[in-house]
Symmetry: C5
Subunit: 306 residues, 5 copies
């Protein structure tokens, strides 16, 4: 079926065209148009790795273990948002309050137990986000996990609270667990594409995705996905398309070379991503290098007004 | 026992003859008599496949990945209802609000983990349906699953909320799980017949069923079911009969040829179904073909006033 | 220990002598003295088999698949009560409202998954029973199941609601699960005797029991039970005695010959049962035969005033 | 370490010296000083065996199957309290109301499934105890069970309700489950000693313990417990001491000879027990013998004023 | 990466510089500046071993089984706080009320079942702490346990209640469970470092840690941790640093020699710990020795004003 292998195209969702309650509209406007480049793109700095991976991620650049490091980078570099858990927000944000929007992560887990039945645990509520003056909450959904029943149930309650309080909902939509591994793995085109659509149908305003990767396990994907011809760009385009009217952020993952990072950033912005969420690729550098890299990324984003 | 193998006959439930609270009566009247053919039949267009199967179902007809495609088909084709999850309703329905009734699906799951212990997870509440102006909610019950305890418990609470708010309850009554497979499989006459009766006793206003199919595993059914002589028509008739005063919708399942689809539709309407719920068989076509097919189906339904 | 093998004797509980809140007293009076024979005996017609066994139970007499069949039998035959789930009550009872008391079954399960860890799931609440004008609720307790923790917990909450609303509580007290099978089986004297006492201590007003049966597995019972010499009559007498001030109903189970049924009914009434709950033995017959059999049973009950 | 093997000594807790809310003080005074010997000792008659063991316990003395038997024994023998579940209290207590205090057992389980993961299930609430005019509640804690998380959580909520309503809390503190068996067994000195301290720290006012027993499995206890030299008396003394300011009741267990029973009773009272809870050793006898034995026990208790 | 192996340095968190609600500020001030040395250091005496280990810990010094022993030591020795469960606080604290602050432990477990899936169970609430006049609550988090989902969820609710009531939150952050053992064990640098950061991000005001230890299982740690060169001092420094603005208490663990204890105490204070929590190392001694040792420790703490 030749149509199936054509890369889908689409326009990036525009805030004005979305059907949203006022509170979400106000807060998204603040993130997208009053910070960062200010053209509807989104550059976020995450600092949830201390929970997700442990302090191991700070070993390459010890000063980054101090959350002030990230906040200073976010403020000075002019990010659209910083994403972290309650424990960091309440102790470090005072000094930077109002200078950079907060995406409050409201669930998390360590990576110590196996991911076979992954589920992320509540660390805060939507009300906490309101109290802290946050402009969004971040919820991690482990798509396809055997514990998806609890996960989807929790997301449903979070989604309702977001609707009530006008709080934008960012879903980290991550394929994960034994069943995903048996069907091609967490980064397969099949898995990421499913994750994009699922989060959209469950009510995400913004979806954080990883760019799909080819792997040895691709032969375990459903046949229709094996039949698709794709590369980095068209894979990214496909999953952006599956996210429909939810805006998409792509992550950088573990640290890569600057040119690779720029290439990837350029590609995903061209296929319709709304923005980027770069953590280790930013703060695992000395501050001056991180600011320089931030500047390059923002120059790229400036070319992609919504 | 010869009586056991006679195909049961019955009249289709008529709205006026059912004992229902006013809110349900108003909303069912809107679905059955103010939309579609308007003669008490029901043609529904589901678009929950993005959660249940993932975007894989849109590969054969990429434009169908955009929910506007289904809404346009539903409005232009004059369907009685469209069925989808909250995330789609809130982003795409504004333009079509009031033009086609909404059946809000309030639970769902991915098909990534095994179905051995299937359960569908809450994605919305009955109150959400009220808020969205929906005319019914859709609940998927996995009949015979080892997790039936949770499933029946949840359905009981949904049923109560439906009674309170006057919201019609459509139950997708699907045999599923390891125990069902051991007794003949999900599409066996035994399984579907049980599913019909169970949903009726649990308070479904409308039941979505698949037409039973013969298979190699029929010899695992209880003896009394093995003794029944049946074909497509009498099998459908039997399960319609077991649904009693609950109206029955039959699905089309994966895409089949037009003549097969028309034959099947004709047969199930003749044995007392209230209507049809055709998703992939409709929207996996170009729009003109989908509208043409819709027209043929509606001509058929016109011959079956309640 | 010779005393241990003597069959216990006791008087049947009399409503006037029980210590009950007014609401329970009113409703039990309605069931016991204003319907049926009206002498304090109880003949109940259950129609919960559609959930517990599926429509398979209607195959021998297809007209019985229509709940009107049972309601007509119950009204015309003059039963003390009909027992069914919410879904049937709300759709069929209007026509017969007030003519025969309702025992609303408030939990149920299919028999599709294994009974090894049996638990019955909520299908309605005590408040539903109040709303429907029911005169009792029916709760199924799986005595000895590995999931007894949840089961007893749920029964405790139901019992409290019954106390609050003055709703009589009928407990279907059924030994069930892997552990019961390992100690002699669900119909063993040990198991049924335990079930009778347990339900009494947990607050049942009426207990539905099966008459104990001898089997090959009796040698797995505790020694003291193996030492008891008993027959059908003294077995029934023993379990009636263990139910103490809770009234006992015995079931008929699957369909047996008329004389066997009458013999069994006579025996259990003589040893102190308050009544009988006959489903398949009644409605798996043509209506005239069912009414005739009902008449015979009621003549028997007339000889056993409380 | 020689100190470790010295039997600890202590004074029995005196009501006046305990730090308790008024409601608990009033109710404990009623149990300890207005009933029984009236000198601060406590003789309780339990009748929860119908749930814990089933009617098997009544086989040796069939009249004892009637709860009136125990209540008559408790009133005529002048016990400090009778302990039973809600179902018995509500049906039999009216006649004896106010004549003997009630300890309402608020959880229970059958002994049919394995005890490997033992947990006792709620059968009533602290509010039920208030409503019934009870003077204490009884909660069974399975110390060391793999399900201890749920058990301790439930006890915590019960303890809070007891504090709120001024209801004394009696904890049946029973080592149980696979892990206990692997460390010496449920009656080992290690296990009972742990059970005593645990219940005390969790807020028990009174703790029901079994006297530790030596067994073949003692070599599985932690070394420090193997090093202790102890006998019946010093074992009992040790666990009484570990219960600290919680009063201790010892049980009689299964029926033993009268002289053994008197010896054991004398011993435990001498080492600081507050009282005794004798069920089968009392009511598995003809009434006159039970009253005679009760009289002997009370003469003993009279020698142990608080 | 040479930076990775440099021991991090940091200043100890100062109360005045932390961002805390008033209630927490008042209570922490009371603990840190109105008791103990009064210079912002913290010496706590825990007495939760009766639940965590059982009375076995009192065998080496039997008088310590009486909680008065610890309270007298705490008051006379001038500790900053005593930490225990509700059952002890309510019975023993009256005499010492106001003389030494209370850290109410609000969860606990026995060490009888395997720690493979460790979780600690609620024994009290934050409201209980308020009622008792406590100045902090103590919550045990089993970092990396397969049951971390429930554990983090519970901690989240406790953290919220602490914020609401202004109650300081002390987290006993203990790596535990099968997955931790597979990655180097509970005392590995990797595990303790993770535990420190995790508790900080989850909102702990104070974190109780064990000093990391080298072991045979270090080769199971992630490579980056194997690459770090460290000793007792730099290991302690690292985990103190990872706790960031949460104050750190180190424990003494099982009893060791006095000079070892002083050495360890000196070291951890020098690297930024706020204080010490010594239980068995204190109260497993005769009172005079315990007081003498307390005096030595306090002299050390006096050298470390905040």
């Amino acid at each position: 079926m030749s149509t199936a292998t054509e890369a889908p195209t689409r326009n990036r969702p525009k805030l004005d065209e979305l059907d949203l309650p006022l509170g979400k509209r106000v807060r998204l406007h603040r993130i997208l148009y009053e910070h960062g480049v200010g053209n509807g793109t989104l550059l976020a700095l995450p600092i949830d790795q201390g929970i997700e991976h442990g302090p191991i991620d700070f070993l390459p650049n010890p000063p980054a273990a101090a959350p002030d490091y990230q906040w200073e980078l976010a403020v000075e570099g002019g990010y659209n948002a910083i994403a972290c858990h309650w424990g960091l927000a309440r102790q470090y944000m005072k000094k930077y309050a109002g200078k950079v929007p907060l995406i409050l992560k409201i669930n998390g887990k360590t990576n110590i137990p196996s991911d076979d039945e992954a589920i992320s645990s509540p660390t805060a509520t939507v009300q906490d986000a309101v109290s802290l003056g946050a402009d969004a909450v971040g919820y991690t959904l482990y798509v396809g996990s055997p514990r998806q029943d609890e996960d989807i149930s929790r997301l449903q309650r979070v989604r309702e609270a977001c609707e009530l309080w006008g709080m934008p909902l960012v879903v980290w939509s991550y394929p994960r667990g034994a069943a995903i591994e048996a069907k091609g793995g967490r980064d397969s085109l099949y898995a990421v594409d499913y994750a994009a659509r699922l989060a959209h149908e469950l009510g995400a305003d913004i979806i954080k995705l990883n760019v799909p990767k080819k792997s040895d396990k691709d032969s375990k994907m459903p046949q229709k996905y094996q039949d698709i011809e794709w590369d980095y760009e068209s894979g990214a385009a496909r999953v952006v398309s599956s996210a429909r009217k939810s805006m998409v952020l792509f992550s950088g993952g573990s640290k890569i070379s600057d040119e690779d990072l720029m290439d990837k950033a350029r590609t995903v912005m061209e296929v319709g991503a709304t923005g980027l969420i770069f953590g280790r690729n930013m703060w695992q550098r000395p501050m001056d290098e991180a600011l320089a890299m931030t500047k390059r990324i923002k120059e790229l984003l400036a070319k992609h007004p919504a």
